[in-house]
């Protein structure tokens, strides 16, 4: 699954908008009901609807509560202090920030600071994921818990981790006497990892 496909999923999340027009009719979408629209009155719509209305200057986007510099910095601190992954406010936190700031940055207070704060959070989590992947591979484990990792983070890690794990498994199944070769491989992989990072 590539980042485009994950963004497609992020677009299905709902967000609050304040319409600049009134339309008393409810739109019966297959994914749920949207409307009625009353100018100035907030309502919830799928992100893909919000983005379309916003592009036509027909609404103002209200960012979700967690899209706030202080909250994001708090999350960053918590992430730093935890060995494990902390729970994100949304499975698509990165995608949602990217989508909303891409189209409606003017509607969002401290847009640039939010962008930086989320990027810091993302970088920290991805670095953490790589370190644990590295440890996991060295340990020679075959499974690991990855609670609270989001789809986009997993997609970033996947090519590296699954290739390494599959190769180790393949070699392991070839013969038990490949241990020394495996060690050699770990060292190799270490180099690959550090180059990749």
């Amino acid at each position: 699954m590539d980042p485009d496909e994950i963004e497609f999923l992020a677009e299905q999340e709902w967000v609050t908008v304040v319409p600049k027009f009134s339309d008393p009719r409810v739109v019966h979408l297959i994914c749920g009901e949207v409307g009625p629209f009353r100018a100035g009155l907030p309502l919830s719509v799928p992100i893909w609807v919000a983005l379309d209305l916003r592009r036509r200057h027909k609404c103002k986007v209200i960012p979700p509560d967690w899209m706030d510099v202080e909250i994001l910095e708090g999350l960053l601190e918590a992430e730093k202090n935890s060995t494990y992954f902390t729970k994100m406010p949304s499975e698509h936190y990165m995608g949602i920030v990217h989508l909303l700031l891409g189209v409606a940055a003017e509607d969002i207070k401290d847009a640039n600071l939010i962008r930086t704060a989320v990027k810091d959070l993302w970088d920290l989590r991805v670095a953490k994921a790589r370190t644990s992947a590295d440890n996991f591979i060295r340990r020679g484990g075959r499974f690991a818990g990855v609670n609270h990792m989001t789809r986009l983070e997993i997609a970033t890690l996947r090519p590296l981790l699954t290739d390494a794990l599959d190769t180790i498994h393949f070699l392991g199944s070839v013969s038990a006497g490949t241990l020394s070769f495996l060690k050699f491989l770990f060292i190799k992989m270490d180099i690959c990892l550090s180059v990749y990072l």
Partner: protein, 194 residues
């Protein structure tokens, strides 16, 4: 089941199919219900002025759903092509829920074409080695590949990973592990692939 629920299930089936190394049991009943909804909606939208807000939003949703259906069926077709010989051999034993009727027709026709094309090539070789061994060409899905999963349920029994390790899966927990460990749970939609 409401259309909204069908859409949510189809989306889950799509994501799982995109991420699973093997072909999963088909969900053609979901596809059919969804396509009927789409056709009906298309007819309704045609009644609206193209500048009507409702028309714009509906058309956009239809685009999204059509993409989902197309991508889902495409992913399955590509797996059918890739593992055609394996599927021809195993489709009977795996029960009837793997392929939709249309996919079963496709598999038969595609495989026959591919095999006869390769046989033409072998006809040019000396008789002694011109036999065609189907098994040699068979490409099986790699079930030991590692996948990321999230469980929708508490799995009662511990699952074996390899010979000595066990994993306990609780609702909402996420793991990276060999696909073979969760194969049945993916097939029965108890866990989703991430």
């Amino acid at each position: 089941m409401t259309a909204q629920m069908v859409l949510a299930e189809l989306q889950e089936a799509w994501a799982n199919e995109r991420l699973a190394p093997e072909l999963l049991p088909h969900k053609s009943e979901l596809v059919e219900v969804m396509m009927e909804q789409v056709e009906q909606m298309e007819a309704n939208v045609k009644q609206l002025a193209t500048t009507d807000l409702r028309s714009i939003v509906h058309r956009q949703e239809l685009e999204r759903i059509r993409y989902l259906v197309r991508s889902y069926l495409r992913t399955r077709l590509s797996k059918i092509e890739q593992h055609c010989l394996h599927l021809v051999r195993s489709a009977g034993s795996a029960g009837g829920d793997l392929l939709s009727p249309q996919e079963a027709v496709y598999l038969r026709e595609y495989t026959a074409n591919a095999v006869s094309h390769l046989k033409v090539l072998l006809d040019n070789l000396p008789r002694q080695i011109a036999n065609f061994n189907v098994q040699e060409m068979e490409s099986e899905p790699e079930l030991e590949t590692h996948v990321f999963v999230r469980s929708k349920v508490d799995v009662q029994e511990a699952l074996m990973v390899g010979q000595d390790d066990e994993v306990n899966i609780q609702e909402g927990s996420q793991f990276v592990l060999p696909y073979s460990v969760v194969q049945q749970l993916v097939r029965s939609s108890k866990v989703i692939l991430l």
